[in-house]
Symmetry: C2
Subunit: 632 residues, 2 copies
Amino acid sequence: MKTSIATVSISGELPEKLEAIARAGFDGVEIFENDFLAFDGSPADVGRMVRDHGLEITLFQPFRDFEGMPETLRSRTFDRAERKFDIMQELGTDLVLVCSNVSPVSLGGVDRAAADFHELGERAARHGLRVGYEALAWGRHINDHRDAWEIVRRADHPNIGLILDSFHTLSRKIDINSIRSIPKDKIFIVQLADAPLIDMDLLYWSRHFRNMPGEGDLPVSTFTAAIAETGYDGYFSLEIFNDQFRGGQARSIAADGHRSLIYLGDQVHRGPNAKSLTVPPMPARAKVQGIGFVEFSADEKDAADLVGILETLGFRKVAAHRTKKVGLYAQGDIRLIVNTEEKGFANASFAVHGTSAYAMALVVDDAKQALARAVALGAERFEQPVADGEVQIPAIRGVGGGLIYLIDDGSDLGRFSEIDFVPIPVEETDVASTHLMHVDHIAQTVAYDEMLTWLLFYTSIFETRKTPMVDIIDPSGVVRSQVVESADGALRITLNGAENRRTLAGHFIAEKFGSGVQHLAFHTNDIFATSEGLQKNGFKPLVISPNYYGDVEARFGLDPDLTEQLKAHNILYDRDDHGEYFQLYSTTYGEGFFFEIVERRGYKGYGAPNAIFRIAALKKALRPEGMPKVES
Amino acid sequence: MKTSIATVSISGELPEKLEAIARAGFDGVEIFENDFLAFDGSPADVGRMVRDHGLEITLFQPFRDFEGMPETLRSRTFDRAERKFDIMQELGTDLVLVCSNVSPVSLGGVDRAAADFHELGERAARHGLRVGYEALAWGRHINDHRDAWEIVRRADHPNIGLILDSFHTLSRKIDINSIRSIPKDKIFIVQLADAPLIDMDLLYWSRHFRNMPGEGDLPVSTFTAAIAETGYDGYFSLEIFNDQFRGGQARSIAADGHRSLIYLGDQVHRGPNAKSLTVPPMPARAKVQGIGFVEFSADEKDAADLVGILETLGFRKVAAHRTKKVGLYAQGDIRLIVNTEEKGFANASFAVHGTSAYAMALVVDDAKQALARAVALGAERFEQPVADGEVQIPAIRGVGGGLIYLIDDGSDLGRFSEIDFVPIPVEETDVASTHLMHVDHIAQTVAYDEMLTWLLFYTSIFETRKTPMVDIIDPSGVVRSQVVESADGALRITLNGAENRRTLAGHFIAEKFGSGVQHLAFHTNDIFATSEGLQKNGFKPLVISPNYYGDVEARFGLDPDLTEQLKAHNILYDRDDHGEYFQLYSTTYGEGFFFEIVERRGYKGYGAPNAIFRIAALKKALRPEGMPKVES
C-alpha cells in the first residue's frame, strides 16, 4: 500500500510540512496549490525539496471549475490548464486533480463534459501528463463518482482517469459497490478522509470536520476494500481539512495520518476479498484480558500520602521489589505499584509531572505480538536497563509520555512478581475489607487536540471500539469524552479532552504539565458494603449536593429508602437499558487525581449524566487551596 | 422590556453566574435545573441568593418528556412534576418550562397532550404555579409553536400557557406571522437566541452554535417585533447554548447578553408597529462619516522608528500639541497622531501593550448623541483630565481596552486641531508624494472568543452591518475574519479572530499582550503611482512569492503586462462582481503591526483570497527575529 498525504492536511509552511510528512514514513505527497503559491521557491525548487526528502509528488491539486464552461470562459480555462501543466512539469509530477465544477455559470451535460476532458487529455498527453477527475459532493452538475466515471469513460482518453475520494462518496451515502466495476487502470489516485457523523451542510462538514480514517464514523475501510478489489495498487492519499489539524503540530498530525493508513490497510487485508493490497505484515489487534497493574511514580513524602489513601481504600502491601524502592499493593485482582526510586524513568516522570499514575500494564494473549503490532503502527517502544535476572517487560509510550507495559496472560505477570518482587507475609490488620475486585476503567485526561491521536492509538493496536463522543459540562467549559473499550469490558479507557484550563480536566493538565491518568475506577459487587468498609478505614468520600438525590429519585422512580441510602453514602446513580450503575468518588489528591468505585449491575455506560454533579463537587472540594475561582 | 437570561448561558458555578448576571443589569434569571442540582444549597438558599442580587427568578427549566406518556410512565411523570413544584415553591418562582416530548415511547395526538396539560394545570394551580409549554424544533410529535399553541388552547386552563423561543421557531423557518394571533396573556415567557446560518442537524446546531440576538444571522428582531405586537410585556430571556460561552468569562458573556437585548428592544421599538415595547430611550445608531484620526502610543525610541516609516509612506508632520509630546502627521484625509507623553492613558497603554495604534477617532453627525447611545448599550465611557482650555473629546473603550473618540462632523475635529495643536509650516522636502487619500479600513486582531463581543459592539452603536465570516488560512491555523462596515464604506473594520498563538494574528496578540489594531489600510486612486512614490521614499514593501503572479494571471485572465507590473511592485490583485482590487503591504513593525495600501476600482471586499499569500510573506519576513518556527 503506497501512502501519500496532501500538504493541506497539516500545519506549517511547505518545508515544515514536507519534513513532517517524510519523517512520518509516507511514500508520497500531494502538493496543494496554495502551499506552492505561498512558497517563494520555484516549482523546480519545490520538486527538488520533495525528492530530497525521499518523497514522490503523487498529485498536484486542485484545478477547479474546468468542465462545461461556456465560451469565452472555456478558452481561458484551457489556458489556465496549460499554465498548470507547465508548473507540473517543473515540479516533476504527472498527475493533476480536476474537481467537478461548482461555478454557477457552468453548463451541465455528460457529453459536453466528456468532450472537454477529451480535449484536456490531448493537451495533457502533449506534456506527458495525466488528469484525474473527482466528483465533489457539492459539485454543481456532477456530485457522484458514478457520474464522474461516466464522463471519464466517454472522454475515452488514456490520459484522463478518475479520482475517488472516500469523503465525497461516503458523505452522500453512494453505493460502494459501484466502485467494484471501475477498471483499476482508470483510477488514477484514491483520496481518503473520514469524518464524525453529524448531519450538516456537506461543504461545511468537509471543510471543518474531516479527520483521519478510523478517527471518524464513515465506513472508510469498506470503501478502501472495494477499491482494493478492483486490483488498484496505486497511492492511497489523505486529504484532510480540519481546523484542529491546521493549528496542530505538523509532526504528530502526520504521524497520526500514517498510522491511520497502515491500520486501514491492515483492516482491508484481513477482509474477505482484498488480498491484493500489500501491507506490512503484523499480528492482529491485541485482545486485552485485563489490567495487570497500574504504577505510580512519587517521592517518599507523596508516596506516604498515597499509600495512606490506598490503605483507606482497603489495599495492603503484598510485595516489595528485590532491588528497588517499589512496593506492590493489592486487593482482589487489582495491583497498584508505588515507585519511589530516585533514578530511572519513573523518577524522571515524577520530576516533570509530579506524583502520577504514569504506567499501566495490559494483560494480553501474547505480549511480543502486541508489541510487534504497536511498533508496526508507529508506536514508540520503551526500554530501560534492568538489573541482572530481572524481567524486561515489553512497553510502549502512551498518553502524556507515560508507559503501557504489555504482559502475557497468566505467565509474565506471575514471573514478574516472583522474580522481581519478594512477597510480604500478610499480617492481621484492622483494615476493613472493601470488596474491590478489579479495575473497571482508567480515565485519561488529555489536551483536546490529542483526543483523536489516542483514540486511533488504542483502537488500532488493541481489540477495542470507540463510543460516540459525549459533551461533559464543566462549570467552566465543555469537556469532550469518548471511551475506548473492549467488547467484554476487560479494557475500558475513558478519554476526556479539555480545551480550557479552567475546567477540572484542563486544570489537571495544566498543573501536571501534561496529559495523563486522572482517575482510576475500581469495581465492587456491593457498593454499600464497600462504602461501609471505606468508612471504617477513614476514607473521605466526595460529598454530593443533596439536591441531586431528589432529582435522581424522581427521574428514575427510585424507592425513597434507596435514595436515602445513596444520599447517606454519597453514591451517584444511573440506569440504562442494560441495568443500574452506582458510583462513589474520593476527593482529589495532588493535582486533581482521584479514585472512583463503581458497581455495574449490567449497566454498560460510564455515568455521563452524573459527570456535571461529580465535577461541581470535585471543584468545590479543590477550592480554596487548588483551583482558582475565576482566572482572568 | 424586562430582561432575563438562563443560567445555562454563561460559565461558572451558580454564585458566579448570578453575580455576573446581576452586574450586567438583567432584571431576572432562569434557573437551569442542573445548575441548581449541582449547587449544595437548598432551593430556599438559591432563591434568597437570587433575590439578594436584586433578581427575580423568571423560570425554572427544563421539565422534559412530559406530555403523551403511556401508563405507567404517565403516573411517574406527574409524580416528577409534583417534585418540581415543591422545589419551585421553595425557590420562589411560579413558572416552569415543559419542552415538547422527545421520548421514543411518547404518544402523539393533540387532544391527548391537551388533556395531560389540563391535568398538570390543575395540579399546578393547587400550588399557585404556572406551566409554560415550548415546542422544541426536534420534538418527537410537537416541533412547531403553532402546534404547541393548539395544545395550550385545548388544554384550556389558566395555569397553562405557551413559551416561545426564537431559535426553535426560526431554525425551522416557521411563519412568524402565526405569532401575531396568540393572545398575549397566553404567552408566559419568551426565550431568545440567535445562531449563525449553517445548514446542519437542528439539535447539534442548537447545542453548540446559538449566540446572542444580533450576533448570528436569524431574524430575531422580526420575531421579537411580532411578539411585541401581541401586546406581550413580560420577560425576554436569553437561552444560549454555546461551547465558547461555556468556557468564556461569565461577566463579559453576561454583558454581551444584556447589550444584545437592549439593542434588540431598540430595533423593535424603531419598527413600524411595536410601540408597546418599552426600552430605554436612546439616539439612533451613529452614522460614521469617516476616520478622524488614528493615534499611536510610543516611547521616544519607537516613535522615531514609526515616524521614519510614516515618512516613507509620504506623511508629513503638520502640527504639534501645545502642551504635550504629541505630533500630528497628515496626508490627504488621513491624520495620524504619535503620542510619546510619559503620563496619561497613552503612556499607560504603551507600558502594557508597547507601541500600538491604541486609539481612533470616528467622525459622526453628533458626538454627544453617539456617546449617549454607546453608554445606553453598556459601553464604558472614557475620560481623562485635560489642561485648561483644551478639548475633552467624548470617548469610549474599545477593542483591547483601546479608545474610540467620537468627534462631530466638521466641528469638533476642527476645534480640536485649532485649540490643542499648533500648525507646523509645511516645508519643501524631498519626500515624494504617495497619493494616499483616506483610511480604507482598520484591521483589528482579537482573541477568537472576543469576536462576537466586538461585532455586537460596533453594529449596535454605529450604523453598520456585518459581513459573513471568512476563514483565513494561516500556515499555523485558521483565523476567522468578519467585517463591520457602513453602507458607504466610511467605516470599515475587519475583525480577525485568532485561536492559537502560532498564527500571525495569534502571535500579535501574544506579543502585544492583548487584542488591538494590527494594520491600517490607506486608499489611493493610483496604486502604481503610489508604489513609485513609496520606492523613492525608501519604503520597504512586503515581498510576495513570484509563484503567486502566474496563478493570478491565469485565474483572472490578466494582460501579461499588468501581471509584470503587479509582480514588479509586489501588488496583490483581486476582483469581484463590482470591480478590481489592488493591495500593497509593508513589512511588519514591532510586534507585527503593518500598513496596507489599497486601490478599489469598485471592488467591495477585502482581498480574502490573497490573505494566505500575504500571511505567508509576513511570517517569512518576521523570521528569524520574531516568530518561532515551531513551538512545542
